[in-house]
């Protein structure tokens, strides 16, 4: 059913393209919404856009990734209607936006959990937050130190412009301590995409990486995480995120310039609807409410 709908949509799209190519104007007025930012959100935003355009053929949504920072920078420069961010906007960015006469307004659109992933041949299945922090800050360099094989640890991270990177730094590497100055170990590999991390973890038994729960393929092992050694070790899942037991979970945001108006407001309202939040669930993210 869904596929037929999509197919019809594609056909309609093609037909409308070719007819507009011949110079006959479309009957329905077109509204374009530019949507850009976090790579974590991009698949979700695309799925939403597809569904929404099916239901509202007069709306054209253009969705691109690039990272939370990129999206917010685009909002500050006034080139997008909605910026996607997997972290909250920084005070510095708000100041920059205000200088340009832009008032970023925050909307929480979904929840996300970060899964720590290792190669399936790695016997390590559970870690505490502190152990992960010590791995990434360089205090642990061998898997033996956390109960694994005698192998060097290869740390993988997203690039610094990724919201996931910043969130992981604050929540895991620094254990949520705002005063902490702990950094990623310098030999942490900074890979430009989720795909890079997943392909390296898939083929390298030394590797440890992290990525959004929605992106982890089934052939990789997720680590069960405990906030303290005495707590229960919890695997990331929709349930464990919603009941608050999984430690590395966060909200995902969209930012608009001021109170959204017109079609953008209607779109954001739709995103909060049960229908749109069902898509969130399908993609491995965590629905709000």
């Amino acid at each position: 059913m869904k596929r037929t709908l999509l197919f019809t949509f594609l056909l309609v799209f093609l037909v409308s393209c070719s007819s507009s190519g011949q110079g006959t104007a479309d009957s329905a007025p077109q509204t374009y919404i530019e949507n850009k930012g976090s790579d974590t959100i991009v698949n979700l935003a695309l799925a939403w856009a597809e569904q929404y355009q099916l239901e509202n053929p007069n709306i054209r949504l253009s969705v691109t990734g690039g990272g939370s920072g990129t999206g917010i920078a685009a909002l500050v420069n006034g080139t997008v209607d909605i910026a996607n961010a997997s972290r909250q906007i920084k005070q510095k960015e708000i100041d920059l936006a205000n200088e340009q006469g832009i008032e970023p307004m925050e909307h929480i659109i979904a929840g996300d959990a970060i899964a720590v992933i290792v190669n399936p041949t790695n016997p390590v299945r559970e870690l505490t937050l502190e152990q992960i922090s010590k791995i990434y800050s360089g205090a642990y360099t061998n898997w033996r130190e956390v109960g694994g094989d005698d192998r060097p640890i290869v740390r993988l991270s997203r690039e610094t412009n990724s919201g996931t990177h910043v969130y992981f730094l604050e929540t895991v590497v620094r254990l949520g301590d705002k005063e902490s100055k702990t950094l990623f170990s310098t030999n942490t590999l900074l890979l430009p995409s989720s795909e890079g991390i997943i392909s390296e973890v898939r083929q390298n038994p030394n590797a440890i990486g992290y990525d959004g729960l929605g992106y982890v393929p089934e052939d990789l092992n997720m680590i069960a995480i405990a906030p303290e050694a005495s707590d229960e070790y919890i695997l990331p899942s929709v349930d464990s995120v919603n009941n608050g037991t999984y430690a590395i979970a966060r909200d995902l945001y969209m930012y608009t310039n001021g109170e959204p108006t017109g079609e953008v407001a209607i779109y954001l309202e739709w995103i909060m609807s049960a229908e749109a939040q069902e898509i969130v669930k399908e993609l491995g993210f965590v629905p709000i409410n």
Binding site: T70, N187, L190
Partner: protein, 298 residues
Amino acid sequence: MQKDLNWREFLITRLIKFSGYSAVIFVGMIFFFLLKEGLPTLTEVPLGDLFATRWYPIESYYGILPLISGSILVTVGAGIIAVPFGIGVAIYLAEIAPRWLRNTLKPLVELLGGLPSVVLGFLGILILSPTLRVTLNLPTGLTALSGALLLGGIAIPTVVSISEDALDAVPKSYRDAALALGATRWQTIWRVTLPAARSGVLTAVMLGVGRSIGETMTVMMVTGNAPVLATGLADLFSPVRTMTATIAAEMGEVANASTHYHVLFFIGLVLFLISLVVNVTASAVVFRQKKRAEWVLS
């Protein structure tokens, strides 16, 4: 009629003149743009912090030494692979291979040069780096070595194509004279043809090196991008972060006119200066040799 011709000639001469100068003008404009955007760094970041060993811009660590060392390491590695191999291929094509084989092989080598670097990067991630990790027993295959191997591959077509042209341009009489004097084929190649084509071969090497140091996509995909200070060739087996990959990965995110933005342009400036020094040195060497050759002849 005569007047019309003059006018046309005037226009065409001017156009050609402008084309000639345009390269210089563009380089000059790029250089001034880099200076304008990059120099504010010097007032915003103390020199000691800029030439430090920690690069982590989101926490205001702007040490660019690991990036410079990373770029140099990968480029030197690529040069070690591309120069002997590229010149070897060029000598084979120009001097040894039969004409029909040369006419088939050379376009194929040049086709290799047209491969998009992102495709090579994919091959690097999926095939080269896992193979290197297993065969050399490294912690990870995303290392400077993977980058150097792929960049070597990217530079080889440039080196081959241009040095083959240079070798091919050496007059046949040189070779005939050498052979007539009883030199072997190898002696002719090594002592006569190659030195005669020296300036062209050197240009080929420079363009190859330039291609490697400026290459971005491939190195970003396969070198791991860890900003670790590389101190010697042994660091080929660990991950590095190059200047180009840093600019490409971070430019999209920075706020206009922030310190990070200026530092990225400063890195671009450093990259520009390195290329400039390499090119100037090369042309100086070529120039000096020409002078000496003229002096010997006279």
